[in-house]
Symmetry: D2
Subunit: 164 residues, 4 copies
Amino acid sequence: MSSYIVGVIGGGEDVLQENYELAYRLGGLIAKEGWVLLNGGRPAGIMESSARGAKESGGLTVGVLPGRSSSEASAYIDIAIITGMGSARNNINVLSSDVIIALPGKAGTISEIALALKNGKKVLLLNFDPGSIFAEYRDTGLLQSAGSPEEAISIIKAGMGSCD
Amino acid sequence: MSSYIVGVIGGGEDVLQENYELAYRLGGLIAKEGWVLLNGGRPAGIMESSARGAKESGGLTVGVLPGRSSSEASAYIDIAIITGMGSARNNINVLSSDVIIALPGKAGTISEIALALKNGKKVLLLNFDPGSIFAEYRDTGLLQSAGSPEEAISIIKAGMGSCD
Amino acid sequence: MSSYIVGVIGGGEDVLQENYELAYRLGGLIAKEGWVLLNGGRPAGIMESSARGAKESGGLTVGVLPGRSSSEASAYIDIAIITGMGSARNNINVLSSDVIIALPGKAGTISEIALALKNGKKVLLLNFDPGSIFAEYRDTGLLQSAGSPEEAISIIKAGMGSCD
Amino acid sequence: MSSYIVGVIGGGEDVLQENYELAYRLGGLIAKEGWVLLNGGRPAGIMESSARGAKESGGLTVGVLPGRSSSEASAYIDIAIITGMGSARNNINVLSSDVIIALPGKAGTISEIALALKNGKKVLLLNFDPGSIFAEYRDTGLLQSAGSPEEAISIIKAGMGSCD
């Protein structure tokens, strides 16, 4: 059976220091659970920081890249999937993840949250308030907020015992 | 030179009557300008209504479909582009449009607004308030609101004379 | 109902004069039938020549482009579909075409023939002998050769009356 | 730095016993080199057999799936990349592989060989003769034949020392 994959999304640029740190800590926790971390693969922002956190805790990292060359991958990516599809690869990120954790980001991150919800994937927001726009997905429980990386992991583990 | 293409996006399901009517009127206005209307192509919601408006005013309509068969296209679509890519086709919709007009919708529509902004495409909101999430794109003018279909057309025509 | 679309594929570079001429003539014949011509959209080779033939006979042309900008489209393309997906767009070309006509080309063209056959689309070869590789698809009739553009049109028209 | 990835392609159906065995042996050899094996991920044909060979020699396997669910993956796939893109995912397979080894297959396999060559990726044919169609790529050395799985591995290792 294939590995359990946690997608971590968030900004590539203009990332606050506290979010780098949350992403790093989150990556480490994912690795310690034995889960695979998947992200957008570039050497920037939440992608790089979460991958580094996972690698430094002995985890396995997958980067799904928008460009055409594996040379664009972060040094903390083990498996570089080269799509050559630009932002259309965002849909692959969410389909390939069993669950998504979203840190703050701009339009790229928001597109991934939206594509995840559209495809029925659970999204956990970490230190990120997108306002009212996804309210109906909060009502159904598909979208939730986690107060910390540790709580995000707990929510995922609680959900793995259930049927959804 | 290829035709000027206006992408019209919005919900496929649970669409208010007033938004059907706005989409229909908008489709007609796009056709009267001699522009091509592009949408997601399915026989539902804002897609169907905007395409019908364009066709009944003599316009040309392009539908970029998520599935694998042209039989999934609305009867008001002239050119069915069959992607077989699911929601990854949303990125093609925005890249192929010179400008996007967004009526209310859920996660699919929001993903297209986000992908458009990510790709630097201008988005005009029509009767749709996504809250604060895209605030920074309002500041740069990439995201604007139009008070009516007529105003959306005026904004587009004003922009065509400029350099951006 | 959406338009009948004929995909024309073939080399972008190193194209023999006789194949430019066949592509031009073929484009004109497709236009005269009232069919839409679809190709890869670039200003080169069989793409440009077939689109020019269609336009100069009053037809409608669709180009499905690999890059991210409509400025990459041939001047003879009416509707530029911008995929930003590189060669992955070849699958969209074949899915969107009701039938494919293939002139000589290299790996890109061969990939489109193969993707068409994989997806169960009929392919007519025009002045192109790919050797034995697709023999089994000849046996089932999915792959055929046409002796001229006129014969290709006749084969398509004969097939439209049948049930397959 | 991300792992070295060898793509193994070949038929999903109607596969001869000798090719199952070659694929299994090849998968094992790839694993023993410490390389990652990437394929189309489905539980069938060359895909399943090569992945099983790699897993039973302690390797890591990546499957890039055409459908929308990880439940479609072979039991021998560690990392399931879910594209939801059908055969358009074939381009991702070749872009993500540092080198491709092709066993016999039909149109799907041929499309991947063609896409690989189009993208400038080296392809090694194993027990597979596609006829004359790719002759020019043989002349440049981009396409080669290997007489056995062992020889395929040797060719790859020889190439890793060079600059191309």
